[in-house]
Symmetry: none
Subunit: 217 residues, 2 copies
DNA sequence: TTTCACATACGTATTTATACGTATTTTTTG
DNA sequence: CAAAAAATACGTATAAATACGTATGTGAAA
């Protein structure tokens, strides 16, 4: 092992950042160097303007700038930075979205330490890391482009999930860096395709097509 | 400070358990002793059959046995164990549910280290710990009694179910022979009570409170 | 009995969603 | 490469929801 892998951590959960940091710092083989941890995507992107980073371990759900738009920006502007997603959002459409943006691993939050370390090693080498959530089979399916059972495109599914989780058009536009007009047009198309005539019906549609998940109580 | 507080950690996120453990173990004043960490509620309940514990820091969303039923069982059978909730489920109904089961703190996942430690100290002394999510005001409101689990009157629940199933104000008025103004006022009250800020959130609320049922496809 | 929660009802101003049309750019696919 | 599909964006008009205030009748509980 020549030089340690420069790892960044992006998650709004303070304790989890600490846990990840510890995991990398205390690696027996000294393979990692944590170059920073950040509470949102925005801070990390600021960091990247000045300094470098090999692999970033990132959550999706964050305030200010969520994982979606952060990964999108990294993918477009700084493709050298490899992304590993570590999240409790295990929905298929999100995984698909992230895989298409070139992330190298998609880990559920109950992943063990070794799994996380190995995914970072894979990502450093620009190699896909597979696990129970993102299997090689699923990866192939996504890459070979399959038809969505819901009839919605990926973008549409994504916006559906945001509408159904209670954001309005302007909030969605801000969240994923689009013009409100565009979001509005997507919503129009979504309503037509799903044959929903209002938001309430769309939320039910989202639950029934696993675009949203009902957290059991 | 006589003897250290026996703290247990229950969360399905491995890295987060590590982070919490570190936080308690590395306390300057040696006030805590982590007596175990568990990946689900079931394992923790098993532990409690044999050994003791002062305070448990617990997530809600977990496989096998989630926080809801775990806290419910602790509350009924082992009320000596104080519970601190640390979660990303910031929904009011969940907070209300947990407060009614006697948890001493309800922390969002972005809480800082000191906040978490202080909440455990409070819980050890059987004192409520308040923060931006669970304020003293909210706590009073919950304690001084909303009756319905949903907080809604029967009429309001009925109208909620109609709104959530996709009817608009005029359609609802026609369906149950009311003036649209009345329906509108009910809707206003419903939104206030449920603290929903739009229809999408209300639909989710309806599913979560069994006001609506999701028919499997 | 009188207070209180609930259900009823109206008015009004503001915000948000919906439903059209149009058009350019990007990505995918045959 | 060419065609098709998807994603982007704007304008404009109408419909609906939302958030206030106010008021009245009714039945149950303190």
């Amino acid at each position: 092992m020549s030089k340690p892998i420069e790892v960044a951590i992006v998650d709004d959960h303070t304790v989890l950042r600490e846990g990840l940091r510890k995991l990398f710092v205390e690696d027996q083989k000294k393979r990692f160097e944590v170059i920073g941890d950040f509470g949102n995507g925005s801070d990390f992107l600021d960091y990247l303007k000045k300094k470098s980073c090999d692999v970033v371990v990132m959550d999706i759900h964050m305030p200010i700038r969520g994982g979606e738009s952060t990964v999108e920006l990294i993918h477009k502007k700084i493709p050298d930075v490899s992304v590993v997603i570590l999240t409790m959002n295990t929905r298929n459409y999100m995984m698909e979205f992230m895989v298409k943006l070139g992330v190298y691993a998609y880990l559920p939050k109950e992943s063990g330490s070794e799994e996380i370390k190995n995914s970072v090693l894979s990502a450093r080498d620009k190699k896909m890391f597979f696990n129970r959530l993102l299997t090689a089979e699923k990866y192939k399916l996504i890459k070979n482009g399959r038809k969505e059972p819901s009839g919605l495109t990926l973008r549409e599914q994504f916006i559906t999930s945001l509408v159904a989780s209670g954001l309005n058009t302007v909030e969605i536009a801000e969240k994923i860096n689009l013009s409100p007009s565009t979001v509005s047009k997507h919503r129009e198309n979504i309503m037509k395709k799903t044959q929903c005539s209002n938001i309430a019906e769309l939320v039910t549609f989202a639950y029934q097509h696993q675009i949203l998940e009902l957290t059991p109580r």
